[in-house]
């Protein structure tokens, strides 16, 4: 079973992502802040993190950068979810090492396909 970490301060968005990815193949854990996300990631080493950019405490980009520079987190992929849609934001995400970038509103099907593309088909 694969572990997915959903990080977003909006409960509704977390709920949407959870419902999108809900299957027996995924174990889903959630965080609403950057600090909580880092703690959960280090504890559970999720296969993929769906990470909001605008978090109340620290920026999702910084969370991504920190995880990507952590040698113990090498196997974790990060896909950014953001309401920001500027080219610069995409550049920031790439430079922070993100593996994908979704702009809100996003299609749940497209998100699912992206997750499967990164992790491979569900086991």
């Amino acid at each position: 079973m694969r572990t997915l970490l959903i990080v977003d301060d909006e409960a509704g968005v977390r709920s949407l992502v959870r419902m999108t990815l809900a299957s027996e193949s995924y174990r889903i854990i959630e965080a609403s802040e950057g600090s909580g996300a880092l703690a959960l990631a280090r504890e559970h080493h999720p296969d993929l993190i769906l990470l909001d950019v605008m978090l109340p405490d620290i920026s999702g980009i910084d969370v991504c950068r920190e995880l990507k520079s952590d040698a113990t987190m090498k196997s974790t992929s990060v896909v950014m979810l953001s309401a920001k849609a500027q080219q610069a934001d995409l550049g920031d995400a790439k430079s922070a090492g993100a593996d994908g970038y979704f702009t809100k509103p996003f299609s749940p099907i497209a998100l699912l396909q992206k997750v499967e593309a990164i992790l491979g088909p569900p086991l």
Binding site: V13, L16, M19, S32, E33, D57, S107
Partner: protein, 678 residues
Amino acid sequence: MEHGRSVQTRLVLGILALTVAVVTLLGSWQVIEARDSQRADIENGEVTAARLAGRALGNAVEVRLAQLSGAAAEPVVTRLASAQQWKQLSEKAPLLHLLYPGFASFDIISSTGRIEGNWASTPTVATDERTLERSFRAVVLAGGPVISAGLELASPRALVVALSVPIEGTHGQIVGVLQATVNAATLSSLVGGSGLLGDAKLVIIDQQGHPLSGPAAGTAHTFRSVAMVERALNGRTGSGNGVVPGFVGSRLVGYAPVAPIGWAVIVEAPSSTLNGPVAALTERLAAISLILFALVLGAAIIIGILLRRLSREQEKATAVLTSVGEGVVTLDETGQLIGANPALARLVGLSTAQLEGRAWSETPRALYDDEGAPVEWKDSLIATAILEHRVVASTGYSLHLAGAGGRRIPVALTAAPLATDDGRDGAVVIIRDVSHQREVDELKSSLISRVSHELRTPLTMIQGFSEILLTRPDLGAERSRESLQQIQTSSRRLGRLIDDLLCVSRIEAGRISVDLASVEVENLLSEVLSPFEAQNGRAFVTELDPALGPVLADRDKTVQILTNLVSNAVKYSPAGAPVRIVAKSAGDHAEFSVADDGIGMSAEDSTCIFDKFTRLDHPLVRKVAGTGLGLYITKNLVEIQQGHIWVQSEPGHGSTFTFSLPMAPQSLTTANRTEEPA
């Protein structure tokens, strides 16, 4: 402007003066030529007359002198051998008059100055001894006869010339003087009677410049101030025009010295004697001049009207420049400031006088680029406009002007080529303070960014959940319901957001209206609190002043105000912490307070919390969705109902938002009550 007007006046006067001068010059040419030729003739005549008169006068004096000291004097004055002879001589003085008519007086004077014998034609003639002694010494010094003038005779002054002849003793020594005086008027009439002078008058002037004949004779006038007399006294002959003391008006004067005695004679005639022969020509010329003058005057009036019209146009332009809000400055091709309007002066904190004449490079208020480096003149848009003869405008907010106190003012600049007054290339530059515009632009960007963020979140859920509902028929009843609920919540959130934006738009456009009525406070509070009370675990404590009457308010807007405040209290205070709502009377106002035990805020934050797009920099605030428009809208809704809103808060110790609304007037509440039964 003042300068411009004075230039115009000078121009008009100048044109007038020049035209009149030219006309007069050209028209007078003939007269001048005629007059000059006539003047030369007359002047030559005067000179001749004066020369002849001088010579005649000199001759007359010499003749008398010769008579006195020569043969005629012989029997009287030779050598005095004895006192007896001296006595005899003295007694002969009155007889001399008979022998030598034309003399005014005879005095026989001793070496001590005593008059030994005397005869005078006028009894008032008197001389003092000192004067007579001086005459004696003059004769001794000369060793022979002396002609002197200007003797201090009391009156009349006409008796002036004295001929002093020595009286010798037996050994040849001078023992006395025989002094004879000649009446200058006599001499003058002698010369005048000779027919030498024609109609002209003769004036004899002594060495001191006193007139001895003519109308000024015997007065205190001195002719020394008359240059021509001075020249004559210095032995020169000539003529000219001048004012002669004792005569009225300008005189034509011929002058000549009287050689033997150092006097001068002037022969004078009024200058008007010239006018007769040229009078006709002058009259004609005067008429021509008058017509020309009238023409010039007419032209000047027309020019004046045109100039005044022009000046009015200029005044209008100046008034526009002075009152216009934009800074306007004119510069020449070298960057020298020619002029600046008050708006520009205000912008840079200098006076217009301080700005004018400054070079671009010397101006401490020059332009700076967006990195704060001064813009060189040659690189400036103004120089480009002048060089390329086209209008150039800046874009964006890249230019700054250094304002008073070093403040950087973002400016937009438009430079248009313009020829300066003296024909050189220059530019007129309009400089606009775009601080406010930039602020608005920044706000706009901030609004778009926030709004797009706030829109995207509910949209994400609406789009996402609806897609799930559509693509997963196997979702199950529970998940389907949850999805629909999420869609509904998000739709409401979107609706509220749009309401807020429209409300802000109406506030900014001044289009928000209020429907004031008497509103019962208790009902109002129940309406506000009922949706919140449905939430679990939160107490809403209401304190209502029983004496509080209805307020004059727009009910819906007041509900919106209270809802916003209560909603904030709920959002930014710990779950379960109570929210207190107080309504009490405060004079002619009612005060409503909403207090929480939430995150609170600093005094600094309190001052800007009602500003648009302001949200506290606090993790809890960031966690809660919001645009930063709620309190801005709340404040505006309070104020359009004649109320005030303020906040008391401390970080970590909750906030109390209080607003006031006017009480409903008695008449309105009574009216409401009477309507109620119906």
